[in-house]
Amino acid sequence: MTSLTLVRRIKARPQIVFDAVTTAEGIAHWWGPDAGPVLVAEVDPRVGGRYRVRFRLLDTTEHESSGEFLKFVRPKRVVMSWRWAGGVEDPGESRVEITLKAISEGTELTFTHSQLHSEETTRSHEGGWTGALDKLEAHLAALTAV
């Protein structure tokens, strides 16, 4: 199991970024990874509440992810469990954490997807290779923080 961290600086106040992350209207605008449409966005914005998002990619395949809000602190932090429907991309449950910090230009957003597991990462974990993956994560974080 491993994790991925990305950092973004956004020219918008934390309240606005938080709502973009946690409301159905906001999610519909960015959740799809390409220009394909978000088909379903259901959000129950509270600790213990569930979300479900279904989107179609330009290659016409449909994907759905869902989970539960584990922490919900507007406008600072949201933690949710994450699971792909069908379990194709990643067979297990992972965790998404988004932390917002007010900065002079707006918001610094730190995104972490952790407890990721694939056959390969499980194997590399068991093989004692997590050190190298940690280095890669640090590298990615440094690249995206610019």
Binding site: R8, P33, L109, L136
Partner: protein, 105 residues
């Protein structure tokens, strides 16, 4: 199955620290006989995790980088996937910020 055995995991961990060692060097820290180490290496080689190459009387053992590379590729796919989304999130939030500022005026 190759990774269930703790001795095999320890062998891999040792190879990660010092890659490309002879079997006798590799066997030193383990309280087992050379044939037992050879057997473990056979299992790891069958699983595609290590390679053995013979030069004269010395057999050198190396980690195979491919499974490691696959793991990194997989993580990079996730990185691209989220990176694109966060870019779109930023664009959307910034447009909402502009909207809010226009209303304040």
């Amino acid at each position: 199955m190759a990774l269930v055995d703790p001795t095999r995991r320890a062998i891999l961990a040792q190879l990660e620290r010092t890659d490309g060692v002879s079997i006798s060097e590799l066997a030193k820290p383990f309280a087992i006989r050379l044939p037992a180490v050879m057997k473990h290496l056979g299992v790891l080689a069958d699983a595609g995790l290590v390679t053995r190459s013979k030069s004269g009387r010395t057999v050198t053992v190396r980690l195979r980088p491919r499974p490691m590379r696959e793991a990194m590729e997989w993580l990079r796919r996730y990185e691209r996937f989220w990176s694109t989304r966060l870019d779109r999130l930023a664009v959307y939030a910034e447009s909402k910020e502009d909207e809010a500022r226009r209303k304040d005026r």
